[in-house]
């Protein structure tokens, strides 16, 4: 990788001064816990990622797109063969799956669903902040989104930054100061520029390599998360799970996307080293997909999916959830895997654990006091 400095050192003196100085003497570094949320846009098919193998129903429903070589993990469930790193973590008691779950949205629109999976509310396009952002508002933790936009899920939080490697160089801080003066009466622009000026040198580096390979992005996130004063929250955004046609089975479109998810997890494990023990990674999607394959060897928008979790904060590997079954009578509206638990309950319990907060407080701050049962025991017990 061809790296040059995005900023001239001579111009960065004020950067160093304005950067927050947290001394190691405070000894807060050892308890820093990390949360990584990987958003899977388009509707991740929980039945492809973690197929039910307890009977033949799924196989029959999907003659052309079934998973032929599932990796059996329990008598009833298997993993998709592309989830290799995830399987390794499963074997080390560092991976779990919450199956048959969804955000409380049944409208099957991507864009409404994606909005709600990030806002944490129940009315599309209504809340202007995200559940993670609201949970972080008083948490005094930094977050980093590996994306060009600031995703809705983080909005409302403090100390937010986002990043993607880029080739052009910023001007000196002297120049940025001119803009800062110009932006002074615009809160949004001021906040954004303030974070830019405080960025660590590592994030000021430029790169001629324009590849947005997920491993590379995960490496960047890992390098930041591992810093004692760095972010504790990271968000990834992968699109392309909407496989209405040619979904594939062991290989193909959905498999390719699951592989990217798996590569992020594997890379983060490598980069974080011992900090992986204090980390939890979770997936998030807008809905699952129909049990039956459709006319184009794909699947349609559905309801229940799965949440994949990995990291040292998990005490043991297990499949959690109340499996509703795939028999026609058990399907949501006769076509989709049902959701037996509001996915927000899972995220609330994970947040409570990572942020060391009371579950009730998280539900109040992040999820509008929704009726979400405490899942702490089921996930972390």
């Amino acid at each position: 990788m061809n790296i040059s400095r995005r900023i001239f050192l001579s111009g960065s003196a004020s950067l160093i001064v304005s950067a927050p100085i947290i001394s190691r003497a405070f000894g807060s570094t050892s308890t820093k816990k990390n949360l990584v949320v990987i958003m899977l846009r388009g509707g991740m098919d929980g039945l492809t990622a973690v197929p039910f193998i307890g009977n033949n129903i799924l196989k029959k429903a999907r003659p052309d797109i079934g998973v032929d070589k599932p990796i059996k993990i329990t008598s009833d469930f298997a993993l998709h063969p592309q989830l290799k790193k995830f399987k390794k973590l499963w074997d080390k008691n560092k991976a779990s799956i919450f199956h048959a779950t969804s955000i409380p949205y049944t409208g099957r629109s991507h864009f409404e669903g994606q909005y709600l999976m990030e806002s944490g509310g129940t009315v599309p396009y209504y809340d202007k902040t995200g559940w993670l952002g609201r949970a972080l508002e008083t948490a005094n933790k930094k977050s980093l989104s590996i994306s060009l936009p600031m995703p809705l899920i983080l909005r409302g939080g403090k100390d937010l930054d986002n990043f993607m490697p880029s080739a052009n160089r910023l001007p000196s801080d002297e120049t940025l100061k001119i803009l800062a003066a110009d932006y002074h009466d615009d809160e949004a622009l001021s906040n954004v520029l303030r974070t830019i000026r405080k960025r660590p040198i590592a994030m000021m580096q430029t790169s001629k390599n324009s590849s947005q390979d997920v491993k590379r992005l995960a490496k960047i996130a890992g390098q930041q998360l591992v810093q004692p004063n760095g972010p504790s929250i990271a968000v990834f955004d992968i699109a392309g799970f909407d496989t209405h046609a040619d979904q594939g089975g062991d290989n193909g479109e959905h498999a390719k996307k699951l592989k990217q998810f798996d590569e992020i997890i594997g890379t983060l494990e490598d980069e974080l080293g011992s900090a992986f023990e204090d980390t939890i990674i979770v997936s998030l999607t807008e809905f699952g997909r129909t049990v039956d394959q459709n006319g184009g060897s794909g699947t349609e928008h559905g309801y229940g999916s799965a949440i994949l979790m990995a990291g040292g904060l998990l005490p043991k590997s297990k499949i959690i959830g109340d499996w509703p079954g795939l028999e026609k009578k058990n399907l949501f509206e006769g076509r989709d895997l049902d959701s037996s638990i509001d996915a927000r309950a899972v995220y609330a319990s994970i947040l409570a654990r990572v942020l060391d907060r009371d579950h009730k407080e998280i539900v109040k701050n992040a999820f509008f006091n929704a009726n979400l049962p405490d899942m702490t025991q089921r996930i972390f017990g």
């Binding site: 995005r6 846009r41 388009g42 003659p63 409208g107 099957r108 629109s109 991507h110 864009f111 409404e112 599309p124 202007k128 994306s147 060009l148 936009p149 600031m150 809705l152 909005r155 937010l160 930054d161 986002n162 990043f163 993607m164 880029s166 080739a167 052009n168 160089r169 910023l170 001007p171 002297e174 120049t175 940025l176 001119i178 803009l179 003066a181 110009d182 932006y183 615009d186 949004a188 622009l189 954004v192 520029l193 974070t195 830019i196 960025r199 324009s210 699109a239 392309g240 909407d242 209405h244 046609a245 459709n294 006319g295 184009g296 060897s297 794909g298 349609e300 928008h301 509206e333």
Partner: protein, 488 residues
């Protein structure tokens, strides 16, 4: 609104030598009456030519993968194939045509609306559609539709090649169509419905989920769409024609939002064909559609949270004209003129880029001659940079990740990384065709501010402070990345 702010809001600002219109509202409205000719002096490839080139590429690539097993030979042959078919050339060429038109054309307001509709009917980045097809389709099919009826625009855009390809309707067949009845008779598994396009027709292109349709409505819309797809294809070769095949259509009456669509026609080939036209006509005249599109236009041109009184101006014009786009567009301009201030819009990266190029007189996207390509050599930097820069800014217009296109609000476009990229781009002004050896950049900045701001004093004040500091590109950053240019 004030004159110059309005020109930046609905157009791309004024060129250095452009006259300030005496009546800006009329100036803008007149631009919506006639489809401007493309001013690009180079060759314009027809959509059909581009489909031929695409099919040549996909067929040759497929053949190459099957026949050439030696990796190094395969690599060399692939490179040759890429160059011969313009695999890396055409998207950049289309972008250059689009930007040349916006920067140098005389109907910039029309171009803004063209960009809006292109994004409304976004084609996702898959199957090499941005490489060969999306740009040509927008230029050849979408542009001329902008002076007609909205319903005709929806109907024709629904049946464009890239739309049918990207939303999978060519793979959708009625479960009880002649095709599937026949398959069942032969004990072959059914090849059934694909809901993708039917859903997006309702959700994105016409009525939006606000209309309250159900899953049953979506399935019925998808039934109505069955039969529309590619025709005349040969095995292993992509078909180039969109058409209707009655044998794939789901027979019977289909109900969408309470309205019944009967099977009309007698010939088995065309039976059911008219259902789609009838559905789209009904969708487009519904209150839900008019409200949704009027709101979306207001959000694009006036503010992120449009108020009812703004939207009403467009709804009234829509109803009065029975959905004629020139009237709708003129109403959008009137509403913007009336309510555009004190509201502000944070410009999308592409609009901002075109705007700063047009206002500064930058050599952007470069002399059309540099885009002459021999289909043999490697692309040079000048040919490549347009897509590289738009990619850096996060806004390659033919590469929407999802069919809802690119976003349209400040919350979506203002982030640390997006802003870093705009500042870093202007920090290297030669990239956008502003050369230090021409006019001093500070003079360009001053000229641009005087020309394009109703009250230039604040920005001129900033420039005055920089004058003595020998900071040429600083002056550009201070102006082009200023709040007043980012937000109009």
């Amino acid at each position: 609104m004030k004159t110059k702010a309005f020109i930046r809001r609905v157009g791309f600002g004024l060129k250095p030598d452009e006259q300030v219109p005496t009546n800006p509202l009329d100036w803008a409205k007149e631009q919506m009456l006639v489809v401007p000719k493309l001013i690009w002096p180079g060759r314009i490839y027809s959509e059909k030519e581009m489909l031929d080139i695409r099919v040549d590429f996909t067929t040759s690539e497929d053949k190459l993968q099957k026949t050439e097993k030696d990796p190094s030979k395969a690599k060399a042959k692939k490179r040759k194939l890429y160059r011969r078919t313009g695999r890396k050339f055409f998207e950049r060429y289309e972008l250059a045509i689009r930007h040349h038109q916006a920067v140098y054309g005389n109907q910039p307001v029309f171009e803004r609306f063209w960009h809006f509709w292109g994004n409304h009917f976004a084609i996702v980045d898959k199957n090499k559609l941005p490489v060969f097809n999306t740009g040509p389709m927008q230029r050849e099919q979408l542009r001329p539709l902008m002076t007609g009826r909205f319903a005709d625009m929806v109907y024709d855009m629904t049946l464009t090649w890239p739309m049918i390809k990207s939303l999978d309707n060519f793979k959708s067949r009625g479960p009880n169509s002649a095709f599937n009845v026949n398959r069942r008779r032969k004990n072959k598994p059914e090849k059934g419905l694909n809901e993708n396009h039917g859903r997006e027709l309702l959700e994105l292109h016409t009525i939006s989920p606000q209309a309250g349709y159900t899953q049953v409505d979506v399935i019925n819309a998808a039934y109505i769409m069955t039969g529309w797809g590619f025709i005349g294809g040969k095995k292993g070769v992509e078909a180039k024609k969109i058409g209707y095949q009655g044998s794939l259509h789901e027979p019977g009456t289909h109900t969408v939002l309470g309205k019944k669509y009967k099977t009309e026609g007698f010939s088995s080939k065309t039976k059911g064909k008219k259902q789609l036209r009838n559905l789209i006509e009904n969708l487009c005249e519904s209150e839900d559609c008019i409200n949704f599109i009027a709101w979306k236009l207001c959000r694009h041109f006036i503010c992120d949270n449009p108020k009812p009184e703004m939207i009403k101006i467009i709804i009234d014009a829509w109803k009065k004209s029975k959905g004629m786009l020139p009237d709708i567009h003129k109403a959008v301009l009137e509403a913007t003129w009336k309510y555009g201030e004190p509201e502000q819009k944070f410009l999308s990266p592409e609009t901002w880029l075109i705007q700063i190029a047009r206002m500064t007189g930058a050599d952007w996207p470069g002399n059309p001659k540099i885009f002459e390509y021999d289909f043999e050599s490697r692309l040079n930097y000048k040919q490549k940079k347009i897509s590289w820069i738009l990619g850096e800014l996060g806004h390659l217009p033919f590469r929407a990740k999802q069919p809802n296109g690119f976003p349209d609000t400040e919350a979506e476009w203002l982030s640390q990384e997006y802003l870093v990229r705009r500042i870093a781009l202007v920090n290297n002004p030669t990239q956008i065709g502003l050369y230090k050896n021409s006019l001093p950049l500070i003079d360009i900045s001053k000229k641009m501010v005087n020309k394009n701001f109703d009250d230039p004093r604040e920005l001129l004040g900033i420039l005055r402070k920089l004058e003595n500091k020998n900071s040429n590109s600083n002056s550009l950053i201070a102006v082009l990345c200023s709040r007043k240019v980012l937000k109009v």
